[in-house]
């Protein structure tokens, strides 16, 4: 009887220790699992941040490259007039043919002014929409023709030839 009582006490004590050990271990596992999840989350967040920064850097680099290309094109376009003027002596020509040079400079000035209007977003005129190439579009800024064409803002078929 005494032995069975003692055995019962030992079993109960062992069961208690077992229960305590189990719950304590589970609590520790839960804490570790939670910490692990937080670390995994932190790693994932860091990876996402790195990916975002890399994408950001790539986008910035691409834009920088595009802007540098555009700037080079704009500088070339800006040299057109200087190159044109270097080809002849305007004073000499004007003295010899004042009427025709007067017409030419007035046409050039009107075209140059129109370039500014277009750069500010002016609506295209019918003749600009129907232009077949850059020079017919505007001799002072023919490069704008390609920009408008790529945006589908020009008539594909010129109106003056559509009825032929």
């Amino acid at each position: 009887m005494k032995l069975s009582g003692l055995l019962l006490i030992v079993i109960m004590t062992m069961s208690g220790i077992g229960y305590w050990y189990y719950t304590d271990t589970q609590r520790t596992i839960a804490v570790l699992t939670s910490n692990n999840a937080k670390l995994e989350m932190a790693v994932a967040t860091n990876e996402d941040t790195i990916k975002t920064m890399a994408a950001d850097f790539a986008a910035a680099s691409a834009e920088l490259k595009r802007v540098n290309t555009e700037f080079a094109a704009i500088r070339t376009q800006n040299n057109r007039l200087a190159n044109k003027l270097a080809d002849f002596d305007l004073g000499l020509l004007a003295a010899a043919k004042p009427e025709s040079i007067e017409r030419a400079v007035n046409r050039g000035s009107a075209n140059a002014s129109r370039c500014f209007e277009l750069l500010s977003g002016a609506t295209l005129t019918d003749s600009e929409k129907e232009a077949e190439n850059g020079d017919k579009f505007n001799k002072e800024c023919p490069w704008l023709y390609d920009s408008y064409k790529s945006r589908g803002m020009l008539n594909d078929t010129p109106a003056n030839t559509s009825n032929e």
Binding site: A37, E63, Q77, D89, G91
Partner: protein
């Protein structure tokens, strides 16, 4: 952002005066009735004015390209940040689901 104001350039008319046509041109100008005053430029001055105009046009174009670049960059950044935030939320949800699935096997919880 609003678009810039559209410019309407005012008409500028050049008159070329030479030794030969000066009297004729001055007579034409006087015939209009207005007081005669001529704002003159030499050929070199005219060329310089044209080149200055061309430089300003190039400057406007360059500024426009910079604005386009900033616009593109801003849109790409917002898109990348939105994508990262969506992914982070998805990972958080997935983590919460995993945790709740793990705890159901604990008989004492």
């Amino acid at each position: 952002m609003p678009d810039v104001d559209q410019v309407n350039m005012r008409k500028v008319e050049w008159i070329i005066l030479t030794e030969d046509n000066m009297d004729e041109k001055i007579a034409e100008l006087k015939a209009g009735g207005a007081a005669l005053a001529i704002f003159g430029l030499t050929a070199q001055g005219y060329e310089n004015l044209g080149l200055n105009f061309s430089d300003i046009r190039a400057l406007v174009q360059q500024q426009q390209q910079i604005i386009v670049a900033y616009d593109n960059y801003y849109k790409a950044s917002v898109q990348a940040l939105d994508a990262a935030e969506t992914q982070r939320l998805q990972e958080e949800v997935a983590d919460t689901v995993t945790k709740s699935e793990g705890s159901k096997w604990n008989p004492f919880d």
